[in-house]
């Protein structure tokens, strides 16, 4: 199939960017979106032009590295699908496809379609863990955890940290990402001890990194490749309310 690509090119964080047109003549519908870009790059390189820089690694929808906005939608048109798992059979012959990086202030562009997502790591460092010294854990079966709770924690833990939720949100809010982690850890008996400290710390880090507020548009949930739902945000808001009330009244966590 033939495609007209319009791709965001930008040399570095402080340079100006622009959309550049490329034509592809022979794209296999069975190839993946990233394989299509591989072919474009192959042509560019052989002709001495600079290839389009984009992030990717596992190409299996699990590492969270790939991060393209396709026709305005982070990860493109398929629901519950990261762009590395998107196949060209979902596009039509002759279509124009606009490819841009994540657009969010806290994620500055490094080059072309590559952005800097380290603020996500900083949110995790502010409490996205259970403090347990290596070697000091009790037997794995010492605390029974109901299947329902384990499943709920797993649903939340499925987040791949890609940042599509932020890119889709007009406030560049990181609530979905942050809530996925607080909900996972706060729902488990092992995580209860640090529940309040965790949610306060992570929300503060989120604000500090410049992510916006959540105003319930729900765009995040719509683009999330892993089905993380707004319910987790509601859960985080409840955890946050409890923790800040306790803090206000000076209760020990």
């Amino acid at each position: 199939m033939k495609l007209n690509l319009r791709i965001w090119r930008q040399d570095g964080e402080n340079s100006a960017g622009r959309l550049v047109d490329y034509k592809m003549d022979d794209v296999s519908p069975d190839s993946s979106f990233l394989e299509m870009l591989d072919l474009l790059n192959e042509d560019l390189i052989v002709n001495g032009d600079e290839p389009v820089a984009f992030d990717h690694d596992c190409r299996e929808g699990i590492c969270g590295m790939c991060s393209l906005t396709i026709n305005g939608v982070p990860h493109g048109p398929e629901r519950m699908t990261s762009v590395c798992q998107l196949h060209m059979r979902h596009f039509s012959d002759g279509e124009t496809v606009v490819i841009e990086p994540w657009r969010a202030k806290p994620f500055p562009i490094i080059r072309d379609l590559v952005v800097d997502r380290t603020p996500f790591d900083r949110i995790q460092q502010a409490g996205g863990f259970i403090s347990v010294r290596t070697g000091s854990a009790p037997d794995g079966n010492a605390i029974p955890i109901s299947k329902e709770v384990a499943d709920y924690a797993m649903d939340a833990a499925a987040c791949i940290g890609c940042g599509a939720c932020v890119a889709a949100c007009k406030n560049a809010s990181a609530m979905l990402f942050t809530a996925a982690k607080t909900s996972q850890l706060n729902s488990l008996p092992q995580g209860k001890a640090e529940k309040d400290r965790r949610v306060l710390g992570m929300v503060a880090a989120m604000d500090e990194a410049g992510f916006g507020n959540c105003t319930n548009y729900g765009e995040c949930q719509a683009v999330c490749p892993k089905g993380i739902t707004l319910d987790f945000i509601a859960q985080m808001n409840r955890d946050y309310a409890v923790a800040s009330t306790k803090k206000l009244f000076g209760c020990a966590f």
Binding site: D38, L44, V46, D57, C58, Q85, Q125, R133, S136, M154
Partner: protein, 644 residues
């Protein structure tokens, strides 16, 4: 090259305890005087960096991705083994140990494997405490599934995302230490050189992938946990960035490379479809718990299937060959990986393959769905069926899946002693990057176990022994050894950039992959390996005279990154073929066509090859020199593997 495995005295059960007791310790107040570099943030590197930071060492951790959470371990699907015997089905530390030794076709080091089995239970405890959401039964206890090469159910899992969850656990522990300031994390930094000072590993040189800066880092010890090298085949189940660079450049600095030819071709991957393909996707082996593998008995029927004249469900039961069940009645579809892969190849080589290229067999869930109902199968493998459909366009509940073997894991790696230290003092190697535990074939769900065992439970003890011996004092990162290493890196990058030829590094990588798959893949022989040893240097020549890397080294340059990795693969591939050629026997995943039984099984030659082959670098375009570590079995008796 001196290869002293430093296996402690005592019975196999006591070795690790004795060793921990006799090891030197670093006093808590002194730990902060020591600096440790950890390259890699996967299960092995992440868990090591977190634990060492927690103990009070100053740790610097490096990875090439934009976050430590994205290390390739994230992609592991099926599960992690541990000898907990929660299922009360007769499991024990000794059984896990024995299964691993046997699975590895008696080519691994007994003492290391026993220790791995011994600490396996602690790993599960640790991960549960971190909040890893393992699958549970209704009673609230941990669930298990079975994996290949074992007759007990000892694999713990978190849906089809076990690696992700374990890695996020290690990442969370790492984050706690980053927050405390004990670990400094350097993302998007690629290690390009190991630096030795007076024969000891004392630092590394990295390239900052964002701005191209070449930087020196010095430390008291260096830990490499850079993963495997399956990407030498170009097409593999691995992430695009997986590379041999860290290990290979250490090899060029004097570290021995052990058994490079031991590679694992995983039996259950989605078959290749066309030339556009950039990777092959694994379908977890756990599927073989319930899926049955078959091809038609008659090649003519296979041809009709390939041409889509008939559908798989049209093939009568009596016309099907469930070849694993037929050949290995007691393990059936759960035969180990090397055996299952070879059987698939054999069936397809005889014209009985069913995918349109002829290289594919069925993995059929019809019986399991009939027996347990579709919801039960969805609960177990839902995300895998989804993934299969997304890639192939077929619904695995309605029609059998198609699978074919693909390069997946590498058992070979840098040689290490019992302390996980290489022959270079101060250089420790963990996880898939070392060679020690899986012999000539790794059992499913054992790599995650090994990575975490190495990082959480082994290296934190053994590194202390080394540090206490040499004392604190990281060298000056601007000293002569570092300056020289930096200059040579810069030269190399400039040389690559200045070729300005006509071919992309990717196209050369694809060509290398074809050579390796053809001559050093699932079946190897003398003539083929000799051929590869002739073709690889020619291709390397082509690379250095005709590669084209646009842009400069002072910016994010994806082609420069790729070209550097391909250049290392082009040298490493030759080492692999030398090893495969030298090992004139078949064992585990290394199948030399000349050495097989009448039934086509791998035929070992214990008299001549019961050793680890450790290669020493002699310069590019010069054959490496081999040293042997003899394998001595005191606790198990070497036997011919049988899964019948």
């Amino acid at each position: 090259m001196i290869l002293d495995a430093k296996i402690p005295d005592g019975s196999i059960e006591d070795k690790w305890s004795n060793h921990k007791f006799s090891n030197k310790l670093v006093n808590p107040a002194n730990k902060r005087k020591y600096n440790i570099i950890v390259v890699g943030s996967g299960l092995a590197g992440g868990s090591a960096a977190a634990t060492l930071g927690e103990l009070g060492y100053n740790v610097k951790c490096f990875c090439y991705q934009d976050s430590p959470r994205r290390a390739h371990s994230i992609a592991a699907q099926g599960g992690i083994n541990a000898a907990k015997n929660y299922q009360n089905d007769g499991d024990s530390v000794y059984r896990l140990f024995y299964d691993t030794i046997k699975g590895g076709d008696f080519r691994s080091r007994e003492a290391n494997v026993y220790r791995l089995a011994e600490v396996s239970g602690n790993i599960i405890d640790q991960c549960v405490a971190q909040g890893v959401p393992f699958a549970r039964e209704y009673g609230g206890h941990l669930a298990n599934r079975s994996f290949g090469g074992a007759q007990v159910s000892r694999t713990f899992y978190a849906r089809g995302q076990t690696g992700q969850q374990l890695l996020l656990g290690a990442y969370s522990a790492l984050n706690a230490q980053i927050a405390r300031g004990q670990v400094e994390m350097y993302n998007r930094h690629e290690m390009l050189e190991l630096v030795l000072v007076e024969g000891h590993a004392k630092g590394i040189i990295t390239r900052n992938l964002v701005n191209g800066a070449i930087e020196s880092w010095s430390a008291d010890a260096v830990i490499l946990a850079t993963g495997g090298y399956s990407t030498v085949f170009f097409l593999s189940t691995c992430a695009a960035g997986v590379n041999v660079t860290g290990a290979f450049r250490s090899f060029k600095k004097g570290a021995g490379f052990a058994n490079p030819c031991y590679t694992q071709i995983h039996p259950t991957c989605i078959p290749q479809e066309g030339d556009h393909q950039s990777k092959l996707t694994l379908m977890s082996e756990s599927l073989r718990n319930d899926g049955r593998v078959w091809v038609p008995k008659d090649p003519k029927v296979s041809e009709q299937l390939r041409n889509k004249d008939i559908r798989p469900r049209d093939v009568a039961e009596s016309e099907r060959d469930y070849y694993l069940e037929r050949k290995y009645p007691s393990f059936g579809n759960l035969a180990p990986r090397d055996i299952s892969s070879r059987s698939a190849k054999e069936a397809c080589d005889k014209g009985r393959g069913v995918s349109y290229t002829g290289f594919g067999v069925y993995l059929d869930f019809e019986d399991a769905i009939g027996r347990l109902g579709q919801p039960a199968i969805e609960e177990r493998y839902g995300n895998l069926f989804e993934m299969y459909e997304r890639i192939s366009g077929d619904n695995g509940y309605e029609t059998p899946m198609m699978i074919y073997p693909a390069p997946h894991y590498t058992m070979g790696g840098l040689w290490v002693d019992y302390n996980l230290m290489s022959n270079v003092d101060g250089l420790f190697v963990l996880g898939e990057a070392n060679f020690s535990d899986h012999g000539a074939n790794r059992l499913g769900a054992s790599a995650l176990m090994q990575g975490l065992a190495d990082g959480y439970f082994v290296v934190p003890y053994t590194v202390a022994n080394y540090l206490a011996r040499v004392g604190a004092g990281a060298p000056d990162p601007d000293g002569p050894a570092f300056k020289e290493a930096k200059a040579s890196i810069n030269d190399n990058l400039n040389k690559m950039l200045s070729v300005q030829g006509k071919r992309s590094a990717r196209s050369i990588h694809i060509e290398l992959g074809r050579i390796m798959w053809e001559y050093c893949g699932m079946a190897r022989d003398d003539a083929g390996l000799k051929k590869a040893l002739q073709l690889i240097p020619e291709l390397r020549e082509e690379f250095w005279s005709n590669v084209r890397i646009p842009g400069t080294g002072e910016q994010l340059n994806i082609e420069l990154e790729r070209a550097g990795r391909v250049a290392d693969h082009l040298e490493f591939a030759e080492l692999m073929c030398h090893d495969a050629h030298d090992r004139d026997e078949s064992c585990g995943g290394h199948f030399r066509v000349e050495h097989q039984t009448d039934e086509g099984e791998a035929k070992r030659d214990d008299e001549n090859f019961s050793h680890v082959s450790v290669w020493e670098h002699q310069g590019v375009n010069t054959a490496p020199v081999k040293h042997n570590e003899e394998l001595v079995y005191e606790s198990v008796t070497m036997a011919t593997r049988s899964y019948k």
